[in-house]
Amino acid sequence: MDFNFTPEQELFRSSVREFADRYVRPRIKEMEENEEIPQDLLDRIAEQGFYGLRYAEEWGGQGGDNVLFAILNEELAHCYMSVAARVMMQCLMGTEFINLFGTEEQKRDFLVPAIKGEKYGTMCMTEPSGGTDLGAMETTAVRDGDEYVINGQKSWITGANAVDFYTVAAKTDPDAGFRGVDLFLMERDRPGVEVGKKIDKLIALASGCYDLYFHEVRIPADRLFGGKEGQGFTLLRNILNDIRVHTAALGLGIAKAAYEESLEYARQRVAYGRPIIKWQAIQHKLAKMRVEIDAAQLMIYYAAWRMDQGLNVNIEAATCKYFITEAVLRIVDDATRIFGAYGASMEMNIQRYFRDARWLLYGAGTQTMILNIIANIIAAEIGKE
């Protein structure tokens, strides 16, 4: 078993690192303060071909695999989580349903421009009534002639104000729990779409999340993904593992950044007559971080590799996401402690890693849900015996 990255993968990693250091890093302070990613930066990311990394060349994509995509996510998050989160949305959740289930026309009108960075998309599932419990959603989609009429409210929608189209989860059968959910493609400029207030939050400051309202929004019936009603969860299942593995990659990027910076600080900071890295308590903190980073890296890239081999990855996606989430929280906690009072200083990066790491607690599912999923897989395994 060869666990090494190939030279091409290493080259890709360095190129993303260089890009991030050159174009993203110098603007982090400005983006944190303005709580916005400038359009020219998003355009530059488009020029690199990142948005189409996963998509077929037929649509203008790069034809890249999950290992490369995980590298992209890891490296971007290592630099700046807000940008990484927006890019991942554009590369995956915001566009994937069109890629998998869209008509040729929809791919031409939405996927191709998205890959070029001419149009942006985002996914709309969460509501005040439910994040984890998507079956509790109240947004409805009612068939009316050759249209659907969408009514409802979404919350925590990444970039709702700045995108051109949404993949919206809505119930075609309000009484059927999660089985009544369907997915729809909707442009932002449809009458009745209202972007609500921006959610003031502690993390990923430049990746704004918004409330989003649909007031009698009409869309053509062929905007229903999957061709027939009741397909929402079946379709969603295609993407859940991807979201887990690649969110995990984001976490790994933050973990490494926190580890590297606290290591460097520990080498310089003197207390009781020596650099604090000479003290065992600090050394062991760094050693524990390293254990968890190495373990997480293996789990995440193994899951990505399995996806590329077309192998089932239900358990691996869940376990790697669970693991890195707990690990990155421990890592940023210890890294912040190494910095002492400077751990709270807004001039340093470490407070941003500390905050942004919390994303992992609910992005791609809470820890409680992930453990439920793992437990269900175990139950299915023993059921088969």
């Binding site: 969460t126 439910g130 994040g131 984890t132 419990d133 079956g135 509790a136 925590w156 959610i199 003031d200 939050k201 502690l202 993390i203 003197v270 207390a271 009781y272 007559g273 003290w279 308590a281 600090i282 929280l329 906690d333 912040t336 402690r337 002492g340 009072a341 751990g343 709270a344 200083s345 807004m346 001039e347 407070q351 500390f354 905050r355 919390r358 607690l361 609910y362 809470t366 820890q367 409680t368 453990l371």
Partner: protein, 379 residues
């Protein structure tokens, strides 16, 4: 040995709790968002006698005991860490040296108005290169005739921008480590004192942390607290009380976070039932409550021993270590129960989570405290 608070202590707790519920809790989010010192609440605390709770009536104090001081800090911290930490500073380290070692004239001029909330007193120990390792401070105090002349730079000084007087740690013996430190009264208007800008930080936003520079700052010899050479010992004694106080702030924050999480878990419905009905949530809350209870017992035991005249540095250090770690774990747990709402500015949980980090620093980091406890154990 059962632990009951006396009637007087319970009365105080109830009255502080009422003040906190009526006036502090509703203002806490705004204090944090605006990053402004809560001046009117600080004034109200003065009027209620909180600032002088440790001091005798002779100076306008309310003559409470250490347990009462601890109860007060806990309740205030439940409402707003920014307010609580500033009140605690004013009650304890910001004024204690003036009380114990100051001249009557200094007490009249500074302690009495401090207790009334008219002058703010803070302690100034930390420097850019010396936090945990106070023995490494570079600020010096050289005797010159009837004066001392101080030179140095302090950083992370609580409310430096607002303080009227500072209790400054400076070395009378620059060759010595910690034992070379003495403590001095430095008043703001003294020539040679300059206050730098506050550090932008992530936590306790209603309390500033600034810079104090002393450049050939000349103070009368009677501004030395106690005898030359005794400063470090006096500071050590105070540290035990500082640690207990940090423990009490930790309990207040822990309670606030736990209460918020318990309420939310009962209200938030997912999968047709309150999330509290899932073991993953209820067991987590049970662990949080257990940790909080253990911390409370340690902190109050240390405080009541102090009231019996026993200054137990090992217990005080353990109480601070355990309680501050507990507060951080409880804030983390609460944040998880709230899921994404745990990070929304609209809810207080993100503030508890940020403010809890502050508790890991004052009075010693967890690593320093472990070292102290180990030494107390003879290791």
């Amino acid at each position: 040995m059962g632990h009951c608070f006396s009637e007087q202590q319970e009365l105080l707790r109830r009255s502080v709790a009422e003040f906190v519920d009526k006036e502090v809790v509703p203002a806490a989010a705004r204090i944090d968002e605006e990053g402004q010192f809560p001046a009117s609440l600080f004034q109200k605390a003065a009027e209620l006698g909180y600032l002088g709770i440790r001091y005798p009536a002779e100076y306008g104090g309310s003559e409470g005991d250490n347990v009462m001081f601890t109860l007060m800090c806990e309740e205030l911290a439940r409402g707003s860490m920014s307010l609580a930490a500033t009140v605690a500073m004013q009650c304890l380290m910001g004024t204690d040296f003036v009380y114990r070692f100051g001249t009557e004239e200094q007490k009249r001029r500074l302690l009495v108005p401090a207790i009334k909330g008219q002058k703010m007193g803070v302690i100034a120990m930390t420097e850019p290169d010396a936090g945990s390792d106070l023995g490494a401070i570079k600020t010096t105090a050289r005797r010159d005739g009837d004066d001392y002349v101080l030179n140095g730079r302090k950083l992370w000084i609580t409310n430096a921008a607002l303080a009227a007087f500072f209790t400054v740690a400076a070395k009378t013996d620059p060759q010595a480590g910690f034992k070379g430190i003495d403590m001095f009264l430095v008043e703001r208007e003294t020539p040679g004192v300059s206050i730098g800008r506050d550090i932008a930080k992530m936590s306790v936003l209603g309390q500033g942390a600034g810079e104090l520079t002393l450049d050939e700052c000349r103070i009368p010899a009677d501004h030395l607290f106690g005898q030359e050479g005794t400063g470090s010992r006096n500071l050590e004694a105070l540290l035990a009380e500082i640690r207990i106080m940090m423990g009490s702030l930790s309990i207040g924050l822990g309670r606030a976070a736990l209460d918020a999480a318990v309420r939310y878990s009962q209200e938030r419905i997912q999968f047709g039932r309150p999330i509290a009905s899932f073991q993953a949530v209820s067991h987590r809350l049970a662990d949080m409550a257990t940790q909080l209870e253990a911390a409370r017992l340690m902190v109050y035991r240390a405080a009541s021993l102090l009231d019996e005249g026993v200054r137990d540095m090992k217990l005080a250090s353990m109480a601070k270590l355990f309680a501050s770690e507990m507060a951080n774990q409880v804030a983390d747990g609460a944040s998880r129960v709230f899921a994404s709402y745990g990070l929304a500015a609209e809810y207080p949980v993100q503030r508890y989570f940020r403010d809890a980090r502050f508790l890991l620093l004052g009075g010693g980091t967890s690593e320093v405290l472990r070292g102290i406890i180990a030494r107390q154990m003879g290791l």
